[in-house]
Symmetry: none
Subunit: 412 residues, 2 copies
């Protein structure tokens, strides 16, 4: 069974919103073993909508439409579906009552055009809408399935969950499961070379790599009968990949690097203080996205001046003068200094040149030092990064989280 998501709405074609509905529905369908082969978006235009729907019905078994169910004249989804499938639109009394009750609950009069929302194609399974006025529906016709859902994600998502998902899992006789391996410290093409034989012979499970700002994700997807255990297909492949790539694989649960690093700190109860220079608080800001981090994070000093490095982090003025603010020596003293000030288990520091200004031949934009101090001493790492200010700062934060992760792993 393959599906297509057809979104209707001029606001998508004008770039006012992104088609996050298609992302959500696609993710949920692929978990259910339904392949999504196409997304399409079309505006509130009767001819183009009709042609797009006809095409979708020709090439896909299931067409999930979002948007165009509202009360106004340019909401045409149901009318178009009814015409193509040759069904009458009939009044669904229960939906009408719900719409009336909805307007009563928000203390506004129901205008006439809202009645249109309670008209649904004959013989369709109604999907009730608890968060808004437009009901959705499922229609089976000529071996195809057409599903209509409203555009606002806050209405669409619960309707998808309480009616569409159960509808499909009842129909399906197999399932698809995926596992996501997140990898840091090895490029996409280098990784492909290490895995090329596995990728080439893949059938079930399949392996799909994709890269994103310094990171690579591998998706391992297995398809099996409903009673079978997909993990039995997936796990040997995941094991083989992690054997080959070692601890460059930082998550097999699709967690991101900051989560992995933060949770390692929390679970091992390792207290931390940071000193950030070129990242300007970005690393701490990401770390504090993680609920529970306050248990281990004591403080961070964003030292954007030499005085701050000297006063708050106890960096020696000599070091700053001799080696400069962007140096291995300063990074190490910053890590030691923030750890001592906060009396934490570890201290982590970052100093570098994020650009666009400030680079020299000797110390170019993208040169960054990161350091980690604990009770036994301090170690540091030189990074040579590329890209604009934002990319350099982001990539630096990944290296910092990776340094923390590898540090905690070594303790075990």
């Amino acid at each position: 069974m393959n599906a297509e998501i057809l979104a209707v709405g001029t606001e998508l074609l004008m770039g006012q919103i992104a088609n996050t509905n298609a992302q959500y529905i696609s993710g949920r369908l692929s978990e259910q073993g339904i392949n999504v082969y196409y997304h399409s978006v079309v505006g509130d235009n009767p001819r183009r909508l009709k042609e797009s729907l006809e095409l979708a019905l020709k090439r896909s078994d299931v067409v999930i439409m979002t948007g165009g169910l509202g009360p106004t004249q340019d909401d045409l989804t149901k009318e178009t579906v009814a015409e193509i499938l040759n069904r009458k639109l009939i009044l669904h009394q229960e939906s009408l009552e719900k719409i009336k009750a909805f307007f009563q609950s928000i203390n506004r009069p129901m205008t006439e055009n809202n009645i249109k929302q309670a008209y649904l194609p004959e013989g369709s399974l109604i999907i009730r809408n608890d968060k808004g006025t437009a009901p959705g529906c499922i229609i089976e016709a000529d071996g195809k399935v057409v599903i209509m859902l409203p555009g606002p994600p806050s209405e669409m998502k619960p309707m998808f969950e309480h009616t569409v998902i159960p509808y499909f899992s009842e129909k399906s006789d197999y399932k698809i499961e995926s596992k996501y391996l997140r990898i840091f410290g090895v490029g996409e093409s280098a990784m492909e070379e290490q895995l090329i034989d596995m990728i080439e012979k893949q059938v079930n499970p399949t392996i799909a790599p994709y890269a994103k700002e310094g990171e690579v994700t591998l998706r391992v997807t297995a398809r099996c009968g409903k009673q079978e255990n997909a993990a039995e297909l997936i796990e040997p492949v995941v094991r083989e990949i992690t054997n080959r790539l070692g601890n460059a694989v930082y998550s097999t649960d699709n967690k991101n690097l900051e989560e992995v690093a933060g949770e390692l700190l929390i679970n091992h109860n390792i207290s931390i203080a940071l000193a950030e220079s070129c990242t300007g608080g970005l690393v701490t800001s990401k770390l504090t996205n993680i609920p529970g981090i306050s248990k281990v994070l004591n403080r961070t000093v964003v030292s954007y001046s030499n005085e701050a490095k000297i006063e708050s982090l106890n960096v020696s003025p000599d070091t700053l003068q001799k080696h400069g603010a962007v140096s291995k020596e300063t990074a190490e003293e910053m890590a030691i200094g923030t750890r001592e000030a906060a009396r934490t288990d570890i201290g982590v520091s970052i100093t570098g040149i994020a650009g666009p200004e400030g680079g020299t031949e000797e110390k170019p934009v993208g040169l960054v030092y990161i350091a980690l101090a604990d009770k036994n001493g301090v170690c540091s790492k030189e990074l040579r990064l590329w890209g604009d200010r934002s990319r350099i700062r982001n990539t630096t934060s990944l290296f910092v989280f990776d340094m923390i992760r590898r540090y905690v792993l070594k303790l075990d």
Copy 2:
């Protein structure tokens, strides 16, 4: 001229990412007066990609493709376009040199498969990629235009700006110019009431409002002949809007609030130190996105523990005990403390409950205090925000930048 955006990538069909490229390109094309009638997404599948491209070429004048230009085997965009348009793929030496130089600059060996990225369809206009390895291209064939761009938005966007936009504006016989007014501190419907007569009578320029997490943007768009001066149409409208909304309009150049606040500090040479609690470095991280901020930003303390507040910010233990870490009193002492430690012109602080944990009946999630201290004293503001952790932290940062902005404006 009508356009279609055809995205290539199984990760879109699996729901791993949303098609934000289509949103970006659509927004920019409609500003240029080019209608986007369709978005489509297809996976890394040769047959479906070919059929989708053939369809797009039949129904659209311009087909903009994103994704599938990478070095791996399932990157098929160029190959498919070359086949359909009957063009050879030829080595573009300059692109190859750039790719080689790129790998050299990051100190990694270039693997063989990367050479594939330098092969481009014969007779195409190359779009250089300054942020990654895959160049893009523009091909004119049989009255149609096919444009190929890489999938990562950080690469795609600058390529779109430096080559695709100029390509279209040269082709067009009129031009479209827009100005963006950014507004903070007045809701969308309140704003609409103040501007309703202007919005209703709009013809050229047009006025389009859109709201996003606590902010409103107004786009004023004029269309005129290429030799005419669009500013003459736009400026009177912009002046009238800013007259009505006063300094709720924080930018008429589509700058964001952190840029406006940061540049005010830099231009007035007002030195600043911060103390962040619930925002965890987010405010400083945004502020340090602004080139040149190091001239005025001295330091930030992210005080994630009471000790940090006492030791690094000189908050009185009594205040913490009597009023709590989330209180007007603590916020004000934090602002004073960070200013005194750093000896800056102003000190700015944030303390609050970002959730999901930590709320009580008296101090619920979303309660935030922000304060600003200068040589004359300290003022503070209580915020009651809603939403999840990330929304509360983001909205807080907007209020902080607005507080800084209004403070500097008052000095004039």
